[in-house]
Symmetry: C2
């Protein structure tokens, strides 16, 4: 997702340098005029605002804090914005590490997927010190259409986790509802259309329900990424002393999907898990 | 809900007779010109189409099949339409009982609540023989704005159950998400607004989320009725050989709400259950 997001900044006239662990991923940006840097540290040396968009929390840790990481080059007064969906407590740790170098650190995970990234219509949920946020807000507003600050470091990540916790159980409801309807011999598309207009309506039902009915399991949003997000949320909830049984249940079922090699499928492929588990009964 | 629904029929110019176990409930209809009958049997004797809107499946059984029930008076060629949310297998049984008297039986549960009943904007999900359905469809279209036939007897009830199964887990997700957000110190209304616009969006979040944020537990939809619906769905799923763990989990939590005397509150009061359960951790 990083490439289309950065492209919006270039097109808006900003000077852009890029680094990617896989250089091919930056080739479009380089062709469009972005300067290549050989490491995150090198990139940070010449940047006022540094954005990262990575896969997993351990990637965030190594790209920002590791050897030749952003922290090794970040200039006093610059701002680091991590847009990866990652751990709230890592966001807190990043802030304290960067603060000692007089660098602000903002957590700014997104929702809206590939399409949102391409169209510049992402929702961007920000946490961190307000001054740092305000410095980067004009840039974030180029990449997203719904940019908001939710509070101190970690608050962006926690808003994103609230989003993922909600989706987890809504997906359970969606697949259980449609599996029941299927077994009842109902016309799934007709049921989805009627239910979508009422109190059972949701984005999951309207957007993923028809894919389930057509047995289209392609991502959308990868199961492997959703599992990562649920595990971050479960760990953070545990740290707060919260037991979220709905989330735990959805996580178990998505783990089952992983065991069945559905990791690279879209989250709606959870339907296949319930379908096969209920064949043996 | 029966009274505002029947009122639409009166206002549309149809001749209407009424019976209610609690006569006061029909006083508005009587004042508007409906004729009173002393039993369901008596009502059926003079009616071409008989609508029932009751509380629980055992009420449906007694009003339709009991002593002085509809079946004791129903005329050859008439149609019985049960609009109660009730058991799919009872709908099948009703059809066979009435068929022997050459009476069609349609199951037609609704969604849209008090407001939908008052405004004539209910969704009405129908099952039963298509001819019987078509005879009643013009009348149903007066009470609802989204009237559809889903298949043989029980299919209306099963479409409604698909709706309730979906709501059950979506409510779990909504309360877990907001409880996590609250513990994280986030501004709930701000989180709800942002999440509602994206992939976590749902009717439950948009409509009930703000009530949770304002600690407004009034119904909407009563917890006691929702528990009834979930139990019908669980029993029907069990009969089909389906194990719906998300639904089971939501049912457990709503049972817990009942134990805490929240039966007469709205479904969003599930939030209180999770909130207090997570205080002890």
């Amino acid at each position: 997702m990083g490439s289309p997001m950065a492209m919006h900044l270039l097109k808006a006239g900003y000077e852009l340098s890029v680094f990617s662990r896989t250089r091919e991923k930056a080739s479009g940006l380089e062709a469009a005029g972005a300067g290549w840097r050989n490491s995150p540290a090198e990139l940070a040396e010449t940047s006022e605002v540094i954005f990262t968009m990575l896969g997993f929390p351990h990637d965030v840790e190594s790209v920002l804090l590791g050897n030749k990481g952003v922290i090794a080059g970040a200039q006093r007064g610059s701002v680091v914005v991590d847009m990866t969906t990652s751990c709230p407590d890592l966001a807190v740790r990043l802030e304290s590490k960067f603060k000692s170098q007089h660098v602000d650190s903002i957590d700014a995970p997104v929702s809206g997927g590939d399409i949102g990234a391409r169209d510049g219509t992402l929702a961007i949920m920000c946490g961190g010190c307000k001054e740092g946020y305000l410095k980067t807000q004009p840039l974030l507003a180029i990449m997203g259409s719904d940019v908001q600050w939710f509070g101190p470091a970690g608050s962006g990540q926690r808003t994103k986790m609230s989003n993922q916790i909600l989706i987890a159980s809504t997906m359970m409801g969606t697949v259980e509802s449609l599996l029941y309807a299927e077994r009842a011999g109902l016309d799934l598309l007709k049921v989805i259309a009627l239910l979508s207009r009422g109190a059972a309506g949701s984005w999951s039902l309207s957007k993923l329900g028809p894919r389930i009915a057509k047995e289209d399991w392609e991502p959308g949003f990868f199961i492997k990424h959703f599992i990562k997000d649920m595990e971050i949320a479960l760990a953070d909830a545990f740290r707060m002393g919260l037991k979220l049984k709905g989330l735990e249940l959805a996580h178990e079922f998505y783990q089952e999907a992983k065991k069945r090699n559905l990791e690279e499928k879209g989250t709606q492929a959870l339907y296949q898990v319930l379908q096969t588990m209920n064949k043996c009964l």
